[in-house]
């Protein structure tokens, strides 16, 4: 009990005393001076009273007290000031050393900064493209319904949506017919409520401006199932989606709200035209929500699927909603607790087979689509098909750059450490502690790494905003943003900086281990002495190998790019404009091909 109380008092008292000492440093120094001086004075006068001459008394008092500088140092370390004092001294010394070898500092810091910056940018991009999930609560519960079939014989013939070959002559698609969706939904017992959506491009007239927009047609339960609540107004509800051609409402994306309406609250009730149908704005999606289709860009408008016959007419009577042969909507659902994906898939598969048989003509040689339950946490995940390979190449390249930068830094630090072995020996001979020398080197490496890290932060930040600009072209508005990813930055910065510290420290420790005298002698005898050990040599080899790889890779890339730019297309490409027209769907007479370039 008593011991605890003493400990508690110490715990409160020590930080307070430390802060006071640090904050009022000059006062502390003055007080120490006064205290020691008055001690000396008291002692001297006592000695004089004992019969010594003033001069002798002063001499004896000085001897008795000892050197004040040493005492003051001990007093400071009593207050816990030793560490911070040493650190300031180390920092000052490190700054001086780095300033003196500007070349070394610049090369090391810039290579660190470039490596960290480039890697942060590319890794952030990759992470965003390939690993980002939909911005909805519990996105990992989402499953995307899809099917597979044999390429030539599957009963599904009309697909509006994704369709891609698998190995072994099979094909896959995540498009379903609307009747199939409705029946699957009503029969479903193995997942939470199924919801449907379809994203497509349309023409809209918003606030008097005609513009191409991306539209996601959604089922009435879409918002409830995703768990998304609009920031303004209300969501699309089951009542909006109740009967075909009804429910002329739209929820707009946060981006569109910002861009076209200046985030005005009075947009609710405003009417926009979408492919000649008039829709009333009822709400605004939260920022960052990108719809269920993908993670990269949000569609501008979210409208009920029941509006399809009016805004995206097709075929004889315009409606796809009753067509069992037309496969076009995407279907998603959340998993039901306690039901495994495999059992859900087999249950849905049975239902799908029965539905296809019941609603569509299936010829004898045709096979039924088989249900394939996919991870839906990233929407349709188109970007994997498009970017997985290029990103792998890019990631490997920047990985090598990172490795090269690490080797670079390692070698620089090693060379520098070897260069300074003599200095270390001298300092050891003068009585510096080995731990103290190691700390000095550590501080120096850290200062250098800090410079590189700060540079990397700047490069990484600007790199992240540069990439979207590179992908821009004249007729497509790019809303694609690479978020600067702090976690990625932390990783790359951590790796490179750790390398710097490790290899900065190694030679210092080696120097500290060697016997003082021998090293002093050896380095004084031969100025151009062979470097000991294989570490440096193998590092250089490694560096050259990596650099060769990178230079060849970069050369190939550039050459390809240059040749692509110089391809002869057979006509003069200067003074040419490219225009795109997408006419309103119902403006064309039936039987004619619809809105294409």
């Amino acid at each position: 009990m008593r011991r605890l109380r003493i400990l508690l008092v110490r715990l409160v008292s020590e930080p307070r005393s430390w802060f006071r000492a640090t904050a009022q440093r000059q006062l502390l120094e003055d007080e120490m001076e006064i205290e020691l001086a008055s001690h000396l004075e008291n002692l001297t006068s006592d000695l004089m009273r004992a019969g010594f001459s003033p001069k002798e008394a002063r001499r004896r008092a000085h001897i008795a007290l000892g050197p004040p500088v040493v005492h003051k140092d001990a007093m400071r370390s009593s207050l816990g000031l030793r560490f911070i004092d040493d650190l300031t001294a180390d920092l000052r010394y490190a700054a001086r050393r780095l300033r003196r070898s500007v070349g070394f500092t610049a090369v090391a810091a810039i290579s660190l900064a470039l490596a960290i910056g480039a890697n942060t940018t590319i890794f952030s991009l990759a992470k965003q493209l390939l690993y980002e999930r939909l911005a909805v609560p519990h996105s990992t519960e989402l499953r995307l319904l899809a099917w597979t079939g044999t390429g030539k014989h599957v009963a599904v013939h009309h697909i509006w949506g994704d369709y891609s070959p698998l190995s072994g002559g099979r094909v896959t698609s995540s498009s379903f017919s609307y009747p199939a969706y409705l029946q699957l939904r009503s029969q479903n017992k193995v997942m939470q409520d199924l919801f449907a959506f379809k994203e497509t491009g349309m023409n809209a007239t918003i606030a008097g401006n005609a513009q191409p927009v991306q539209v996601e047609m959604v089922s009435g339960n879409y918002y409830a199932q995703l768990g998304i609540r609009p920031v303004v107004g209300r969501a699309v509800l089951p009542a909006d989606d109740a009967s075909p051609g009804q429910g002329a409402v739209a929820v707009i994306s946060y981006g569109l709200w910002e861009r076209m309406f200046g985030k005005s609250e009075s947009i609710l009730g405003q009417v926009i035209k979408l492919n000649n149908a008039s829709l009333t704005i009822i709400g605004v999606n939260p920022n960052g929500f990108t719809g269920a289709n993908g993670t990269q860009q949000s569609p501008d408008l979210f409208v009920p699927l029941s509006m399809q016959p009016l805004i995206s007419p097709h075929g004889e009577n315009g409606s796809r909603l009753a067509e069992a042969k037309e496969w076009w909507v995407n279907v998603m659902a959340r998993v039901k607790p306690g039901v495994s994906d495999a059992s859900a898939q087999s249950a849905l598969d049975g239902q799908l087979g029965a539905i296809v048989r019941a609603t569509m003509p299936v010829r004898p040689n045709e096979d039924l689509p088989r249900m394939d339950l996919r991870d839906g946490s990233r929407g349709q995940f188109y970007q994997q098909r498009t970017f997985a390979k290029p990103m792998t190449v890019l990631l490997t390249m920047v990985g090598f750059v990172l490795l090269l930068a690490c080797a670079n830094i390692a070698n620089l630090m090693l060379a520098r450490g070897a260069q300074r072995q003599r200095e270390m020996s001298v300092r050891l001979a003068l009585g510096a502690g080995r731990a103290r020398i190691a700390r000095q080197m550590l501080v120096e490496s850290l200062v250098l790494a800090g410079l590189g890290g700060a540079g990397g932060l700047i490069f990484g930040y600007f790199g992240s905003s540069l990439i979207p600009k590179l992908t821009e072209n004249a007729w497509e508005r790019s809303e694609f943003h690479v978020h600067f990813d702090l976690m990625v930055f932390g990783f790359t910065a951590g790796v490179t900086i750790l390398t710097g510290i490790l290899f900065g420290l190694a030679p210092a420790l080696a120097a500290a281990r060697t016997r003082i005298g021998s090293d002093l002698k050896e380095s004084s005898q031969s100025v151009t002495r062979r470097r000991k050990g294989w570490g440096g040599k193998s590092l250089v080899g490694f560096q050259i190998a990596l650099s060769t790889l990178l230079v060849i890779g970069a050369g190939l890339f550039l050459r390809t790019l240059a040749s692509l730019n110089a391809v002869d297309v057979g006509f003069r490409t200067d003074h040419l404009l490219l225009a795109e027209i997408s006419p309103a769907a119902e403006a064309l007479s039936r039987g004619q091909g619809r809105g294409t370039t």
């Binding site: 003493i6 110490r10 008291n42 005492h71 001990a74 009593s78």
Partner: protein, 115 residues
């Protein structure tokens, strides 16, 4: 033979606590009081006194105020805090136990074997 004793490791803190428990003192006063109550038998490295005082104050066992010394100079007076008093009691008890044990050990005599 009244040769002066070197201080045992770790006993300076206890001596300082004891000295200031008798009333506030400045640094030189602490030295004088320890010498006085020990009958001039202990040698204190005068330089090690101040680091010890600073350490004890840092730990909250003693507190200090600036005041006037006997010769009307500005001086820093140390006094015992409540925590310091607790610590003094604790360390005194520990010391007494230690010296008791040492006493017993060193006064042990061989037990005559019984035939």
């Amino acid at each position: 033979m009244d040769k002066q004793l070197e201080l045992l490791q770790g006993t300076l803190d206890l001596l300082i606590l004891k000295a200031v428990s008798l009333g506030p003192l400045h640094g030189y006063g602490v030295l004088l009081r320890i010498q006085q109550i020990s009958g001039e038998a202990l040698v204190i490295q005068q330089g090690s006194l101040y680091p010890a005082l600073y350490r004890l104050e840092h730990q909250g066992a003693i507190a200090s105020d600036w005041g006037e010394s006997e010769n009307n100079r500005k001086a820093k007076f140390y006094r015992l805090t409540t925590a310091g008093r607790l610590r003094l009691e604790q360390e005194t008890a520990k010391w007494n136990r230690m010296s008791g044990v040492m006493d017993t050990v060193l006064n042990a005599v061989p037990v005559p074997e019984q035939a």
